[in-house]
Symmetry: C2
Subunit: 200 residues, 2 copies
């Protein structure tokens, strides 16, 4: 192989199925010898372009009820806790901006897992700065520096651009996995995407 | 166990992911010791209740393009041929009525597989009576008797009732699997539903 195997993991912090993948992708990818690039993005603008002003799980109640049950079963099989937060979907903007910085600085994976655990295992509100601060504190990161960094225009623009790139590359939901231009949608396709990445 | 393990397989002939399940459910269920009840139904009325007048794969083009690629990859892994028919979704009304009779008379499984193969491997129009006739002929069934039977009101009503039952039990897509009231959606959940049925 001329280049090592890699895969892009596109995730949205408000997404329940992204939670499932975020909690297992690092271990599975290490086992498969695949490098993961963590790509936070926002589904809101993509859903709006489809004419949706909230999650499809809210728009279609039967689908929403099913999703909760499906998540409960899958989480139980994997030894995870799951409960839908009181407000769903949550506003994931600040968490996504922080995750972009985490990608630059090498702490995106543990930060992302901690945010998802707070949101879907503990029911915390991830748009609340004090929740995010305690997560950053737990990772021994300088939250004051990071909050001032994500208030800057260039970082806000980068998240907008990354969301635009997601849409341009055919992403319509989360999690999505990209191996080159090959798109895989959903936690159910994580193993298949890793195999694809390994085959090169 | 006081009762043997069983599972209801709810399928729509126009559904690509139902094709994937129909081609493998009998073998997998036999291996798991689970009896399958084949439940044809129509998604059209359920989609209409959600405000859709066609398949979501047509309404949301990015999702539609992805579905075709996903099916190609999954079909290739399983040694199946897949191509989206020229007209999608197809009108599945006659096939579904025939499948109801097949359930009564013991030929629903091979009939269903033959219809799906005609539609998604050979690109045939399954609303065409001559296509359905050749499928019935291939199974050595009396197509004249069966076509006259599905023209009768009681059979039409049964399909309507079955579709109403699907909706009442929380089904919003196909394939769906029911183990008692426990709902599993999608070919991706077939193994999990079989395990659930086996555990009782």
């Amino acid at each position: 192989m001329s280049a090592s195997a890699s895969l892009e993991f596109w995730f949205e912090f408000a997404s329940t199925y992204s939670y499932l993948s975020a909690m297992r992708i690092e271990a599975l990818a290490a086992e498969a010898g695949v490098a993961v690039r963590w790509k936070p993005f926002l589904l809101g603008p993509i859903f709006q372009a489809q004419g949706w002003n909230t999650s499809p799980f809210n728009i279609y109640p039967a689908k929403g009820r099913y999703m909760v049950r499906d998540l409960q079963r899958l989480a139980a099989e994997r030894g995870l806790t799951f409960a839908l937060p009181g407000r769903f979907p949550q506003n994931s903007l600040l968490a996504a901006r922080l995750a972009l910085l985490g990608g630059d600085e090498g702490w995106v994976a543990p930060f992302t897992r901690a945010v998802y655990a707070a949101e879907f295992a503990q029911g915390a509100d991830i748009s609340d700065r004090s929740i995010l601060k305690s997560i950053l504190d737990g990772l021994r990161l300088d939250s004051e520096r990071l909050f001032s960094r994500i208030a800057q225009t260039d970082l806000k623009d980068r998240l907008r651009q990354q969301t635009g790139e997601a849409q341009a590359r055919g992403i319509f939901g989360a999690p999505s996995l990209l191996v080159g231009d090959e798109l895989f949608w959903g936690d159910d396709r994580l193993e298949q995407a890793l195999s694809w990445a390994r085959r090169g």
